[in-house]
């Protein structure tokens, strides 16, 4: 923890120890997931070290805990940003009360709610849409040949950014309280990053379409004594045409609202029937 000093500046009452505990407590965010309020118990759980420090007496503790048990839901990997902001706000709230001012406890939840949606959008497109896809793309191509390296690469490609964001997100969120999202939104940096992350994801997905989807037609037509190998025709037009056509066709079906399960069974049936008839 190189920059602990920045965190524990003169104003802060939070010790590095509290941040360490909060970091570890951010992992079981969804342990008590239930439909009505989703990740609420998990969010309160990670606030406990900071709240304990701020509110040792039962009455204040009760207010604070109830405040953090309202509905919450976001991408797990980026939750610590919000936790950091919430800790900073709780601390400000406590200070305002000590100064005899009327704090606004509801603002903590207002900010949490305002952050969880947009951050989930960003988090989903980076972690689900980019790091996971690149990891799975590279991982599957190695693992398909039986190499354990594929599994290791998959976990690393996803988890190195994941753990960095989780660790530094807490500090950045805390340090800049409210201001960090404003400054990042200026000039649309976050939006621009999400856009290019999608581009990167698509290049990898396109490559996977070519290397992972396998479809060939072994059918040989004999017309007037001449043998025509159908697959040669396809290869002559453009190699890898059939897998591309299959993928785009499947995409069209999904766009038209066909269910994933229906398409899946359809493929299996087409595969079996085609194989029995000797077409595929």
């Amino acid at each position: 923890m190189a920059d602990e000093k920045v965190l524990t500046n003169e104003e802060s009452v939070m010790s590095p120890d509290i941040f360490k505990k909060t970091f570890w407590r951010s992992f079981p965010l969804q342990a008590c997931f239930f439909y009505e309020r989703m990740q609420n118990v998990g969010f309160a759980y990670q606030m406990v070290p900071a709240l304990k420090k701020l509110y040792p007496n039962k009455e204040e503790a009760s207010e604070a805990l109830k405040r953090h048990l309202v509905i919450f839901n976001t991408t797990p990997a980026i939750v610590t940003f919000i936790t950091g902001v919430a800790i900073a706000m709780e601390e400000k709230l406590k200070k305002a009360k000590e100064m005899g001012e009327e704090g606004d406890p509801e603002s903590v939840n207002a900010v949490k709610t305002a952050l969880m949606g947009p951050l989930a959008g960003i988090g989903d497109s980076f972690f689900w849409g980019t790091f996971r896809i690149i990891g799975a793309g590279i991982g599957c191509s190695l693992a398909a040949q039986g190499s354990i390296l594929g599994v290791i690469m998959f976990l690393l490609i996803y988890n190195v950014p994941h753990l960095l964001v989780r660790y530094f997100g807490l500090k950045i969120g805390y340090r800049s309280g409210m201001s960090f999202l404003d400054s990042m939104s200026e000039g649309g940096i976050i939006a621009a990053l999400s856009e290019v992350a999608k581009v990167l994801g698509l290049v990898v997905v396109g490559s996977m379409c070519a290397s992972m989807v396998k479809l060939a037609i072994p059918l040989v037509l004999s017309i007037g004594g001449a043998e025509i190998v159908l697959q040669d025709i396809f290869d002559g037009i453009i190699s890898g045409f059939l897998p591309l056509a299959l993928t785009l066709g499947t995409y069209k079906l999904l766009q038209k609202g066909f269910k994933t399960t229906t398409i899946l069974w359809g493929m299996i049936i087409v595969g079996i029937v085609g194989s029995v008839l000797g077409i595929l």
């Binding site: 992992f27 079981p28 965010l29 805990l65 797990p76 693992a143 599994v151 996977m208 493929m267 029995v276």
Partner: protein
């Protein structure tokens, strides 16, 4: 399959669901990781890796975005890999088997996420008392319920399923088994198509074909495509910053659909 192996698979099921519950979602719930571990437990590591990779390609589109409960990849990955190893099934047959299991797992998931209301209520009570430890206990209560439910699902599935599946596979004609093999080459198209739904918009559609052309026509592997994709993304980002991004682009990040591929 011995009882001990079934117990180990059950524990793997509990740990698998714990990845997204307790361990912060580190991708250890995915078939690409679970497959090899199943392979280790059943003594066929190599097959585990290969089956895990194939299952990952098909299930790649199934992701837990938003609050929807999705078909359960944990129990489906473990049991499908296990059946594939114990009865020498082709991957696509294993995928076909995984379907009903995933649906059953989804049902278990819905039950647990409903029953967790009890522990959430305990957390409310603890908050009322200002009792920090009570909130901790409530959280771990929910975690425990998840573990037990998925342990039982996978343990029972492994113990009861493998004999039934084995007997069934012996009766399948060869042409059907070949057909499964053809289908397993086609199935990744579905996983990829679901991903395309997540990533496509009018502006960036061309990059899919860039990636495809790199591999299909130029023979670049996925690692190479990722490197080239990163370069393109970097150039675009620098260029976009230079001419100041338009405000309209700010909305783009929030557009993601909540229920991607929620049917499998």
């Amino acid at each position: 399959m011995s009882v001990i192996q079934a117990v180990l698979l059950g524990i793997l099921g509990g740990l698998g669901i714990w990845d997204s519950r307790v361990m912060g979602l580190c991708m250890m719930e995915r078939p690409l990781f679970l497959g090899p571990v199943v392979g280790l437990i059943l003594g066929d590591f190599q097959t585990g890796i290969v089956v895990g990779a194939s299952l990952e390609l098909v299930m790649m589109g199934i992701v837990g975005i938003g609050s929807a409960t999705i078909p359960d990849t944990v129990s489906a990955s473990i049991l499908a890999t296990a059946f594939s190893i114990t009865s020498g099934l082709d991957v696509s047959a294993a995928v076909a088997l995984a379907l009903p299991i995933a649906t059953l797992g989804q049902l278990v998931g819905v039950l647990v996420r409903t029953a967790n209301g009890y522990f959430a209520h305990q957390a409310d009570k603890a908050a009322e008392r200002g009792d920090y430890k009570g909130v901790d206990r409530a959280l771990w209560g929910g975690a425990g319920l998840f573990f037990i439910a998925y342990f039982l699902l996978v343990f029972l599935g492994a113990l009861l399923g493998s004999a039934v599946i084995g007997a069934f596979v012996d009766k399948l004609p060869q042409s059907v088994i070949d057909g499964f093999s053809v289908a397993s080459g086609m199935l990744p198209a579905l996983g990829i198509a679901i991903l395309m739904q997540l990533l496509f918009d009018k502006k960036n559609v061309a990059f899919f074909f860039v990636g495809w052309a790199l591999s299909a026509l130029l023979g670049v592997n996925t690692v190479g495509a990722a490197v080239i994709g990163t370069t393109i993304a970097y150039i675009m980002f620098q260029y976009g910053r230079g001419r100041k991004a338009e405000p309209a682009a700010v909305e783009a990040a929030g557009e993601m659909s909540d229920d991607l591929g929620g049917e499998l």
